[in-house]
């Protein structure tokens, strides 16, 4: 074991360096390689990072072992920001998710991006994305987290606007970046405060015992600042608007953004700074509230979406809400657990959706699908698993993690039981809309356009689907109420914290039962409603206002456009006018004034020497008088 720890200390930097090397290699040489090679190299880079991480993780698997830090080099020493890797259970879990799921997405992309003119460029971005996320999760100080944080934002910008010739894609990429920047604003303020009180950014000093430095108000303030950051990156209310638009990128990129990387960063940040949140009940409640509201709100919107990826996008937001509820209930392990399971099944869902879109000739409207299960059996059945997993049907992955969060929230009591209630409602809605999604796409009669020829995707794409489906089915076992393996594994990362544990005994069974019943009810209602055209139409008529509102996302984008962007643009316009008219006008006005004064004084310069002479003598006179007065 000790050898493996040494291995981890010595070689863990490879986890970041390998994808980075893939990025550098493909960046300079990728475009000269034959098509699949760039993708293969990128996949290998990511995969080997996974292998290294897996081997390095072995000593920690049993739990109870503390993290090690590996310093690489100085960055900004005066603020305690070094390039330093923290290899502890939390970062191990994140790293394995990012590299593992990431590798499968890489592999899948080799098939999906086949024939794209910028094939190799896509893989450079993908590798860079993985690198950035790994920097984020492996960082041992807030500044380095922020480095990864911004870098994933940048990569998401590059990937979302990958097809930049489409104005929609370019716009979506920019929107993602800018909205994320609003969250970053919170992050920066949080970091500024951390530095102001701790004098360093290093986890070693900040997170060990923040209660010895911070007072109640500032603990809350820093918590809220980090919450704002998480709201931006993890697409919570009110900054979730970028995520649905992020669909404009290639579908596997969406999978990467939504499942393994990027959006989970916010949850990770809160979990990582658990020691600070632990000090402030207020901050935790704010987190839980944001999460619960987002989960519910996004689930409602997801019900009305007709875009195959749109449903998934809002479901991501909704599931992220669950994770935020988890960390907001101080059940940090539960939140991370859901992050992991969600990473697996959401990657699966997106890749499946990509497979469908791919085979349908870039058709994304679910109203033009249906009955694809027969044409695409592998995709269809893996999607069935994923749907049941996200719906929370036991014993699939989603059930365990979701139940853990809800149970913890209920167990925390008081206000959190209200949060729990919202969670249950969301769970029912989730089961419903995901079933609707599955039924519309894979069951029923074909509603394809005449020129569509759906077919099963190539093996390079279905292999990741199968692997992920297996994962989605079984990954829940790592943390069941009977054997809290994952929680135990993570515990060293949350040692000094009052972790909220799930309920035990009878109550646990009751809560699990309620959730299960809710999920089954949702699935059943969804299946029954959408499997039958008549009932479907009746339902859609009955709930038409809700559904059409949900389809438009309840006009939130328009509201922001009108109430936020437009006033901002007007202010900017006004500033520019002010600048050219008033500020510069004043300068030019002054210049004009001088010129005018010159013109006014021009006649004095008559050109007659004798006139000047008069002035000369008069001046001399004045001088002499002055001398006399001074008494020389």
């Amino acid at each position: 074991m000790d050898q493996l720890v040494t291995f981890a200390e010595q070689w863990i930097w490879l986890v970041i360096a390998l994808p980075l090397a893939g990025f550098v290699f493909n960046h300079f040489l990728g475009s000269r390689l034959p098509e699949p090679l760039a993708g293969v190299i990128a996949t290998l880079a990511s995969g080997s990072a996974f292998v290294v991480a897996l081997v390095a993780a072995l000593p920690w698997i049993d739990g109870g072992r503390h993290g090690v830090t590996v310093e690489l080099w100085d960055w900004m020493p005066s603020i305690g920001a070094e390039f330093e890797i923290l290899w502890d259970p939390l970062s191990i879990a994140m790293t394995l998710l990012v590299t593992g799921v990431g590798t499968l997405i890489h592999l899948y992309s080799v098939g999906y991006m086949h024939g794209d003119g910028r094939f190799s460029r896509y893989f450079t971005y993908l590798n860079l994305f993985a690198t950035s996320m790994l920097i984020l999760v492996l960082a041992n100080n807030f500044a380095m987290v922020f480095l990864g944080w911004e870098a994933v934002g940048m990569c998401s910008y590059l990937l979302i606007s990958f097809w930049y010739t489409k104005p929609v894609a370019a716009e979506a990429g920019k929107k993602a970046f800018v909205v994320n920047r609003i969250g970053d604003f919170g992050f920066i303020l949080g970091l500024v405060a951390v530095f102001a009180f701790f004098g360093t950014m290093s986890f070693d000093e900040v997170l060990v015992e923040p209660g010895a430095v911070l007072d109640q108000n500032w603990a809350t303030a820093i918590g809220i600042a980090f919450l704002v950051a998480a709201i931006g990156k993890s697409a919570q209310i009110p900054l979730y608007v970028w995520l649905p638009d992020a669909m404009a990128g290639p579908t596997p990129a969406s999978a990467l953004i939504h499942a393994a990387t990027m959006v989970t960063a916010g949850v990770y940040l809160i979990a990582r700074s658990a020691a600070i949140f632990d000090l402030s009940e207020t901050a935790l409640m704010a987190v839980a509230t944001v999460g619960a509201l987002t989960a519910l709100w996004a689930a409602i919107i997801a019900m009305g979406q007709n875009d195959i990826k749109g449903v998934l996008a809002y479901s991501t937001i909704s599931q992220l809400g669950y994770m935020v509820v988890g960390v907001g209930s101080a059940a940090f392990t539960a939140g991370i657990f859901h992050l992991i399971t969600h990473g697996v099944f959401k990657a699966l869902l997106f890749l499946g959706a990509g497979s469908v879109i791919h085979s349908m000739g870039d058709e994304q409207d679910m109203r033009k699908m249906g009955g694809l299960l027969k044409k695409m059996p592998v995709t269809g059945w893996t999607m069935a698993v994923a749907t049941l997993a996200i719906a929370g049907i036991p014993p699939l992955a989603g059930f365990w993690s979701k139940d853990e969060i809800l149970s913890a929230a209920f167990n925390r009591g008081g206000y959190y039981q209200f949060i729990w209630a919202l969670g249950i409602i969301t769970a029912v809605l989730t089961a419903f809309y995901m079933t609707r999604w599955f039924v519309l796409v894979f069951l029923g009669e074909p509603r394809w356009d005449s020129d569509a020829h759906p077919h099963e995707s190539p093996g390079v794409m279905t292999l990741p689907l199968v692997l992920l489906a297996v994962g989605a089915a079984v990954i829940g076992v790592i943390n069941t109420p009977w054997r809290l393996g994952f929680e135990h594994f993570l515990e060293p990362s949350f040692e000094s914290i009052h972790l909220q544990h799930a309920a035990e005994g009878t109550i646990a069974w009751v809560i699990a039962g309620i959730a299960t019943i809710g999920a089954i009810a949702g699935v059943a209602f969804g299946y029954l409603t959408y499997r039958n055209r008549e009932r479907k139409e009746r339902f859609e008529r009955g709930a038409s206002r809700l559904l059409s509102g949900a389809e438009r996302g309840f006009g939130v984008d328009g509201f922001y456009g009108k109430r936020v962007v437009a006033p901002l643009a007007a202010t900017a316009e006004a500033s520019a006018r002010f600048d050219s008219k008033v500020v510069d006008g004043a300068v030019n006005g002054l210049a004009a004034l001088v010129a005018k004064a010159g013109t006014a004084l021009q006649p004095l310069q008559s050109g007659f020497v004798r006139s000047y002479g008069v002035g000369l003598v008069a001046g001399t006179l004045v001088l002499v008088v002055w001398f006399v007065m001074r008494g020389v």
Partner: protein, 101 residues
Amino acid sequence: MTVGPAWYMLLAAGLFVIGIAGVLTRRNALIMFMSIELMLNAVNLTFIAAGTALGDLSGQVAVFFVLVVAAAEVVVGLAIVVAVYRRRGTANVDELSEMSG
């Protein structure tokens, strides 16, 4: 009876004022020039008188320097007058007002 320096000063002042009047009222460049020379001479007179009165020979030395400067000035000034006359056919300064603003 000796004449005190004050009288010399008065005489010099008179010459100086006359010189000013010449510069300001005459428009022949040569006469203006001579008026300036007159003013310089007035100043020279004060140097001499003061030097004598104070028993200091430096007053006379100062006159030498004024003289040299006056000579140099005359040389250049007259050259200018001649040059202008050759070009413009006049020594009337009122006609030379191109520098009017």
